[in-house]
């Protein structure tokens, strides 16, 4: 059985979610020890448990240690089942993180699936729904599987109450090479507000405009009338010839709208200046897709601990080799191939 030390690398929930995803795809059971051992609340928290339970449903897995605070988990998938799934996640976890855990397996399952996810769609520390639909899923489609996601209702932290549906038409994953971004063809800054003063959105967009020089027609306010709770998200979409990237900032009480917009604009600026196609968050997800396709390459920004942890986790399940080459101080080239 594959044995993974959950405290290694970034030592948090990501190594768990990646392991669950890979175990579902490969059918290989694993045991994880020292789950989140170094964290202030070690062991499985509710959001992790939610991901484990969802993965177990998709893979008809047997579980041991799937309890709150548990530091050891054994996950034995029996059979990958495509079909209709409904996961109510609540706000203690993020529905998008649950989706990322089960989606890779359903891409290669024997039949199509429909997933309905309820809970948080725009939680801090999780990829927001707009990142999924605009940046991540187009790459999935390009590698083979057909996938569509429709948002029915936004769910912000802490109220949750969001809902979206994902249709998955599986197909074998083809390698993807994404070394060039091409020209930027469209830029869009969106300040989304739900039961939050309009002024917040206005100030966010002004900040983005000032910092990045984006024009008025490239900035828009999206005001939600029927979300379950209040929320504010500002996201920047950079559509280029070969890829679309999305950068997101979450409004928080006690933090000025300008500061939130400033931080997300800074992130986009670093990406734009480096000239790479893939940003930091997309890199982690794309690497997993290439590993499953057993081939591909892309250029991105210098990798952080999360990416390193991803690479180490692949080695437990897959016969792939991931190499990272420094092209320039701000550019890395990641190449995924078969091992040996």
């Amino acid at each position: 059985m594959i044995r993974i030390d959950g405290s290694k690398g970034e030592g948090g929930g990501q190594v768990l979610r990646t392991s669950l995803a890979l175990s579902l795809v490969t059918g290989k059971p694993f045991q994880m020890v020292n789950i989140r051992a170094g964290r202030s609340k070690p062991g499985l928290l509710r959001q992790h448990l939610t991901a484990v339970k969802a993965a177990a449903a998709v893979g008809e897995a047997e579980l041991e240690g799937a309890e709150l605070h548990s530091k050891e988990l054994t996950f034995r998938p029996k059979a990958l089942q495509s079909g209709d799934y409904h996961f109510a996640v609540g706000t203690a976890g993020s529905a998008t993180l649950v989706l990322q855990t089960v989606l890779p397996a359903l891409m290669t399952a024997s039949g199509p699936s429909t997933l309905v996810l309820e809970g948080g769609t725009h939680n801090p520390a999780a990829p927001p729904f707009d990142f999924l639909t605009k940046a991540y899923l187009p790459l999935v489609r390009r590698m083979g599987p057909g996938v569509e996601a429709t948002l029915e209702k936004h769910g912000f932290f802490p109220a949750g109450g969001g809902k979206f549906e994902v249709l998955m038409q599986p197909a074998p994953l083809k390698p993807l090479h994404l070394l060039e971004r091409g020209n930027v063809v469209r830029r869009q800054a969106t300040a989304m507000i739900a039961q939050v003063p309009y002024d917040v959105a206005k100030r966010e967009l002004e900040t983005v405009g000032k910092k990045l020089g984006w024009l008025a027609e490239e900035r828009r306010v999206e005001e939600l009338k029927r979300s379950a709770g209040p929320g504010n998200v500002v996201w920047l979409e950079v559509e280029s010839e070969h890829v679309t990237e999305v950068f997101t900032g979450f409004g928080e009480r006690g933090v000025r709208a300008e500061d939130i917009a400033e931080a997300v604009a800074e992130e986009a600026q670093v990406y734009l200046e480096a000239g790479v196609p893939v940003g930091e968050h997309l890199a982690d997800q794309l690497m997993l897709l290439l590993a499953l396709a057993r081939g591909g390459s892309f250029r991105t920004l210098p990798l952080d601990g999360h990416a390193q942890t991803q690479i180490e986790t692949f080695a437990h399940f897959l016969d792939v080799k991931v190499s990272v080459e420094e092209v320039s101080p701000q550019v890395r080239e990641v190449e995924v191939g078969k091992r040996g």
Binding site: R46, A92, G119, A159
Partner: protein
């Protein structure tokens, strides 16, 4: 694989009509304890038992819906409690008690948390009491609002409070330490070995530190009743269970007219010679402990007034028409069988019933021979203090003394008083405070002589040993003269470990005068006259005493 059922977490909590309230989307920016408790990342509530007062259906509905949204894993069950005034303790506690009593608790599969952040303070107090009294077999959970501006609108934090304080290691260690100190204190620091006595002291420590009910200490004179009473008081004082003084009196000294006045006081001019007010011992003991030794000696009038004072904390001083008050804890001592005194009409049955809720019998020293060595060391220490010189006893002298002191011959009829006197005498007579073998020999003789005067038998046999050993017929056939002698010899044999021990006890005087050299042989010959051997008269199946 057999899937083990995981334990479910069930929260019982009262809807907070203010804290849990909130309308419109802005309610999510407000800390709402009941909803927040279901949003904790490290707590999964499987079931929420939401209790509500009448007239809050709309709020209940809103909270139920919000919980469903933030925590789909949580099932909410609502119960309306018929409490009209949630600030009324009697009504509120009563309603919650009824709820708890009717609730089907399954502590074997479910963990119960009682949320005490919401509800009126009276609701919170009632919930606390129900958990503390184990009517609800759970722990308390407290939620608190988010700290800091950035966490506003977040669910806040929770803390689980287990009222079983023994589960907190450092506290448990402190309690243990405190209890050990208490036990040691009650035993005057003497490391007693007698298991029955040590158990008794443990029980006394428990009662003394948790009850204000009267204590009754029984046991023969000199067994240490007044010493113990004083130490119980000091322990209670250290633990702050009493604030007043320790007042003690031997009721045997309270005879005649002065008794009432000494106990209950009098007013000026109550009787000839009553030149001023006298508070009396009961009033002096207010807030403290009153030790009435030899309570069986109290007269009928005093018994009646004492009963009144115990039941109502009020009594009438002599000559006064105004009742006095005093709140004291009573410790009573007696060497009499008070039940027998009741039967003889000499002690009030209702008073006995009032004072013998906690009865502790202090065993005589001869039942605790293993405690004689540590008590000897204690007495030597006491003697050193009394004589202001270091009193020592060499090993040989100590062994010699202990051999005698623990033998059946040593009757210790005055118990610790005898031991204390013996050591004090030896110490006083010892040159330079060093007690020698010779000094011990002298003391042994003094003790023997003293005990010989106070009557022959150490314990009145409950059964007729002569009949038991010889049978009815042969016993009947004996002369009264022989029978009386044989009875005493048999009683000594029963107490003795060996034939030689019994011989030494029976012929102690001859032995002291060196008239007899073989006590055992002399005894064996005496028994043979009745057709008896040692085996016939010794304790069956045992060669050692107790």
């Amino acid at each position: 694989m057999a899937k083990t059922r995981t334990r479910e977490t069930v929260v019982l909590g009262m809807l907070g009509t203010t804290l849990d309230a909130g309308r419109g989307p802005r309610r999510w920016e407000k800390w709402r304890p009941t909803v927040g408790l279901c949003q904790q990342e490290d707590l999964l509530v499987h079931r929420m038992e939401l209790l509500a007062l009448p007239g809050h259906a709309e709020l209940v509905q809103a909270v139920v819906e919000d919980i469903a949204q933030v925590s789909p894993e949580t099932r909410v069950r609502t119960t309306e409690l018929n409490i009209r005034n949630p600030w009324d303790l009697e009504e509120t506690y009563g309603a919650l008690l009824d709820y708890a009593k009717a609730y089907p608790f399954h502590p074997e599969h479910e963990d119960y948390l009682v949320h005490i952040t919401t509800g009126t303070h009276i609701v919170q107090i009632s919930m606390f009491l129900l958990v503390e009294s184990r009517h609800i077999p759970g722990r308390l959970v407290q939620t608190s609002p988010p700290q800091g501006v950035r966490d506003q609108g977040r669910p806040g934090i929770h803390a689980i409070i287990d009222l079983d304080l023994s589960k907190y290691d450092t506290l448990a260690r402190r309690f243990e330490q405190e209890q050990r100190e208490g036990l040691s204190f009650l035993k005057a620091g003497i490391d007693t070995l007698n298991p029955a006595f040590n158990r008794l002291i443990e029980r006394i420590e428990q009662v003394a530190t948790s009850s204000r009910a009267p204590l009754l200490l029984t046991g023969p004179t000199g067994a240490g009743k007044s010493q113990l009473a004083k130490r119980i008081y000091q322990l209670k004082k250290t633990r702050r269970h009493v604030s007043g003084p320790f007042v003690d009196i031997n009721c045997a000294t309270l005879r005649g007219d002065g008794a009432m006045s000494a106990l209950f006081g009098h007013v000026k001019g109550a009787f000839t010679g009553a030149v001023g007010d006298r508070p009396g011992l009961l009033r002096q003991a207010n807030g403290g402990v009153l030790f009435l030794d030899e309570i069986g000696e109290l007269g009928a009038d005093e018994q009646a007034m004492l009963l009144r004072a115990l039941e109502d904390k009020r009594f009438l001083p002599v000559g006064s028409d105004k009742e006095a008050e005093s709140d004291f804890q009573l410790i009573a001592g007696t060497n009499r069988d008070l039940q027998a005194e009741v039967e003889r009409g000499r002690f009030r049955e209702d008073l006995l019933a009032r004072i013998n809720l906690w009865t502790f019998r202090l065993p005589p020293l001869c039942e605790r021979t293993e405690d004689i060595p540590p008590n000897l060391l204690y007495e030597l220490d006491q003697a050193s203090r009394a004589l202001e010189t270091r009193v020592t006893m060499n090993k040989e002298a100590q062994e010699h003394f202990l051999r005698f002191a623990t033998s059946p011959e040593a009757r210790w009829s005055g118990n610790f008083r005898d031991l204390n006197a013996a050591v004090l005498r030896m110490a006083t007579l010892a040159p330079g405070g060093r007690i020698t073998r010779e000094g011990v020999d002298e003391e042994i003789e003094r003790l023997r002589a003293a005990w010989a005067k106070s009557g022959p038998s150490r314990q009145t046999p409950a059964v007729d040993l002569v009949v038991e050993v010889l049978g009815d017929e042969r016993a009947e056939a004996l002369d009264r003269f022989d029978r009386a002698q044989l009875a005493e010899v048999l009683a000594v044999c029963r107490q003795a470990r060996t034939l030689s021990d019994a011989g030494r006890a029976l012929f102690a005087q001859s032995r002291a005068q060196k008239k007899s050299i073989n006590d055992a042989d002399r005894l064996r010959k005496y028994l043979t006259r009745f057709g008896l051997s040692w085996a016939d008269v010794a304790v069956r199946g045992a060669t050692a005493v107790e």
